[in-house]
């Protein structure tokens, strides 16, 4: 189907199903359950996961395949957002033109930055991209305020021209009149599920983004990118100039970032300069590595994990912890809460840092590799167990002309 072989088709269908049923999957607990805290099935978080999933998938096309570590992708995210908001302000609040311009503008910027940065490789490339992103951020925050509205962020105002919108047009980002912020709620017993237009809009793009990435992974182009990572010297002596391949990958990943930025603006029509800061670029690096760089599913997993933790973990404050451990004797309860609260709530960044270090040190293949290891362990234990989530992924890494690694 769609130019995919059977295995990939199954894999792709699973991804589509997971995406469509996210409102259920991320909302496993009843509203009154003590674990309701861990529910993540609300529109903002689901859309964030989809958007950062797109961002990470794109980043993975560059980093995972070619090995070029860019710290500057936040700049493309920001440009995408600014472009989208400008479309909202000038043309229409319909999200399509906005998203299209976001992709184009970020692609152009990526072409420029990539053309300069890719003249170097290794750490020099990383530093160059870092420098470019930092420059972009600083300019956006201050000097370029007429374009970016600086610290406050570019936003839609009632006084904007919006020349394509008639008098009766919707006042919020919409899809041909259907507002992205609209949701339907489904209550089943104690459970509450939210279906949000914006989420499904982002999810559609996420599926498309994933499909394109899948095709790239399987294509001769993807093979060339992996060759860039494996051995540039040999590539040169095979009559191939690595530069256009890397530049193409850079631009594609920049456009992915721009798409993510445009969708962010569509979900919330305000573009702040902070999303261009290099630490945001660092976040997508963390997502990709945590999930598993160079794998298809890894970046999405990483993005989901981090966004979920950021939103849910950071809300577990001391009060919540006290509730959980109230069954313990007082002294012990306080001790446990004190220790745990170092790592949750406002301390969640510490947890993130630790987890990230451990993953880089012991699990270079990220969560995907972790899943594979567990699956392998289970298989060895129970003879023929299920492959688990890692099962489809195992083949995703290697070329389709290759059967799964022999076990």
């Amino acid at each position: 189907m769609l130019g995919l072989n059977r295995k990939d088709t199954t894999f792709f269908l699973i991804v589509i199903a997971l995406t469509l049923f996210t409102p259920f999957l991320m909302q496993p607990f009843g509203e009154t359950s003590p674990l309701a805290q861990f529910n993540g099935g609300y529109p903002d978080l689901m859309a964030k996961v989809a958007i950062f999933g797109i961002f990470a998938i794109g980043f993975n096309i560059l980093f995972g395949l070619t090995g070029y570590l860019s710290f500057g992708h936040a700049a493309f995210l920001g440009v995408g957002s600014y472009a989208a908001v400008w479309m909202f302000k000038l043309l229409t609040l319909n999200v399509f033109p906005a998203v299209i311009l976001a992709v184009i503008m970020s692609g152009l910027l990526a072409l420029l930055i990539g053309w300069i940065s890719l003249r170097r490789s290794g750490i020099y490339f990383s530093i160059l991209t870092l420098a470019m992103a930092e420059m972009a951020y600083r300019l956006a925050y201050s000097v370029l305020t007429p374009l970016t509205n600086g610290e406050t962020g570019l936003q839609v105002r009632p006084t904007d021209p919006r020349i394509l919108d008639g008098p009766g047009a919707a006042d919020y980002p919409n899809l041909f009149g259907l507002e992205l912020s609209r949701s339907w709620r489904l209550e089943i017993g104690d459970h509450l599920f939210t279906f949000n237009v914006g989420y499904y809009f982002c999810a559609a793009f996420a599926i498309l983004a994933f499909y394109i990435s899948l095709r790239i992974f399987r294509s001769p182009f993807g093979l060339m990118l992996r060759a860039v990572k494996a051995n540039q010297q040999r590539m040169n002596y095979t009559g191939l100039n690595p530069k256009p391949y890397t530049l193409a990958a850079f631009v594609i990943s920049g456009m992915y970032a721009g798409l993510a930025g445009g969708l962010m603006a569509a979900m919330d029509p305000l573009a702040g300069a902070e999303r261009m800061q290099w630490t945001v670029g660092g976040e997508v690096v963390i997502m990709t590595i945590l999930g598993g760089a160079g794998t298809l599913m890894g970046p999405v997993l990483g993005a989901g994990t981090i966004k979920y933790l950021e939103n849910i973990f950071s809300k577990i404050n001391e009060n919540v912890l006290h509730d959980w451990f109230s069954f313990l004797p007082d002294g012990l309860e306080n001790a446990v809460v004190w220790i745990l609260s170092r790592f949750t709530g406002e301390g969640w960044a510490l947890t993130l840092g630790l987890v990230f270090m451990l993953v880089v040190a012991f699990l270079p293949g990220g969560l995907v590799e972790g899943g594979q290891r567990i699956a392998r362990l289970l298989r060895r234990r129970g003879g023929k167990g299920e492959g688990g989530a890692g099962g489809g992924e195992e083949t995703a890494h290697t070329s389709p002309s290759t059967p799964p690694a022999a076990e």
Partner: protein
């Protein structure tokens, strides 16, 4: 599935809903709609406290959070009641809010408008908050205020000092109790003129972003009105850390006053370094060189340490004020947390109580009713003397404090002293004052 019930929420415009509802499969028929966004249905009502918990203002956020928790306790009738005992409106009786117990959730703004919007959004969507309060920067306040307007809930701003918050970015759903840059200028300029004379030449270092610019504009206008000249205004990068290259030209520029339009970490570093440069030991144009920091906060004063001794600035409120409201608040805050509250804590505490009071007076959580109750509301007993919530721009008008770094502090909290309590009349302005023009409140939006 037998007991399934379908409702819709988050719909911003009722008109569009009907059409879409029809187009959908029948199981999605609209059920009993709420009257407005996040209408509390159970026996609790949830407030959202959106404060910086990470990033440079985390300590300020922590102090705001302390005050907000205290406010919730007082509304629910726990603790000693704090300012509820001195508040001129008696609609709140310490039994919760319209029969519901008040609970709260917290979010982290990181002092970034993006992150603040995201966390506010998640509080609205996931936690169903009815009101958001907090924050410690104008960028954040403006961004969140816009979001609340769209979502149909109330935003009670925390620390935000830019003119724009209730100026060109004012919103029907946003309310600011804190003072602003214009008021700082109006309060400071006469005191400065008295202390340093009217023949002064000022050199401005300004943080290069919107708040810095509005403050520079306001202070410049106010000081020029009392006869000062402005020699030069220089924009400095946010988070520069080392301001030496901006400080070196000051002494030789002919200026005899340095105005630091910085806040937070930038202000701590710039004033520390300015003092290190020996600026305040110098005599220029036959006058002692002086430094002015238009916006003070306790945490900044603490961070700058010795450097602020004798330096003038302005504040919204200070725990040393001598009035019943202040005394009651400092007592309950101090006994609970062992330290006096900061002025950002006070503004968050008061904002939370004011919101609750407005709900109680309106008898409804409906944002439109609440807005009506808050607009043009006169009150007293909240620590700032008689205060007026102007309906035209949702700005509070009250006395402004001019502060000075204390020369001989007796304890760790005694670092600033009140020089003058500038009366409200002196800092008032018309809603369409040029520095505030260009904004419209918009319409009240109850959501769905």
């Amino acid at each position: 599935m037998t007991t399934s019930r379908f409702t819709r929420r988050g719909v911003l415009k009722t008109g569009a809903v009907a059409g879409a509802g029809v187009a959908l499969p029948t199981i999605f028929t609209a059920g009993s709609a709420s009257a407005f966004t996040n209408e509390p249905k159970g026996d609790t009502v949830t407030f959202g406290f959106n404060v910086p918990q990470s990033g440079p203002y985390a300590d300020e956020g922590l102090d705001e959070l302390r005050a907000q928790k205290l406010a919730v306790e007082h509304i629910n009738g726990e603790g000693d009641g704090g300012m509820l005992n001195t508040f001129s409106s008696k609609a709140l009786d310490g039994t919760g809010l319209l029969g519901k117990k008040v609970t709260y959730v917290t979010g982290d703004t990181q002092t970034k408008s993006d992150a603040a919007r995201a966390s506010a959004k998640s509080m609205i969507e996931k936690d169903g908050v009815i009101m958001i309060n907090g924050g410690s920067s104008s960028g954040v306040a403006i961004a969140v205020q816009g979001l609340c307007q769209e979502a149909g809930i109330i935003f009670m701003a925390g620390l935000t000092h830019s003119n724009d918050t209730t100026g060109k970015d004012r919103k029907k759903h946003g309310f600011r109790h804190f003072f602003n840059a214009y008021m700082s200028g109006a309060a400071l300029a006469p005191v400065l003129a008295k202390a340093y004379g009217t023949d002064r030449k000022a050199y401005h270092l300004t943080a290069d972003y919107t708040w810095g610019w509005t403050q520079e504009e306001s202070i410049k206008a106010a000081t020029e009105a009392v006869g000062w000249q402005t020699v030069k205004t220089v924009r400095t990068p946010v988070g520069a850390g080392d301001f030496s290259s901006y400080l070196t030209p000051v002494l030789n520029s002919g200026a005899d006053v340095l105005v630091l339009n910085h806040y937070g970490r930038d202000m701590i570093n710039s004033i520390t370094q300015a003092v290190q440069f020996g600026l305040r030991d110098k005599v220029v144009n036959g006058k002692q060189f002086e430094i002015v920091v238009p916006l003070y906060s306790e945490l900044m004063a603490e961070g700058a340490g010795e450097a602020i001794k004798g330096v003038y600035g302005s504040m919204n409120w200070n725990w040393q004020l001598d009035n019943p409201g202040t005394k009651a608040f400092v007592k309950s805050f101090g006994e609970k947390y062992g330290r006096p509250p900061s002025n950002s804590a006070q503004t968050c505490y008061v904002q939370t109580l004011l919101y609750a009071d407005a709900v109680a007076r309106a008898g409804s959580f409906n944002p439109c009713a609440v807005i009506e109750a808050l607009e043009d509301f006169d009150f007293d007993g909240m620590g700032n003397g008689p205060t007026f919530y102007r309906g035209a721009d949702h700005q509070c008008f009250k006395d402004v404090l001019v502060m000075k770094g204390k020369e001989n502090p007796t304890n760790q909290f005694d670092i600033l002293e009140i020089v003058e309590l500038t009366p409200r009349a002196q800092v008032e302005y018309a809603p369409d004052h040029p520095m505030f023009a260009g904004g419209t409140l918009g319409e009240c939006n109850p959501g769905d």
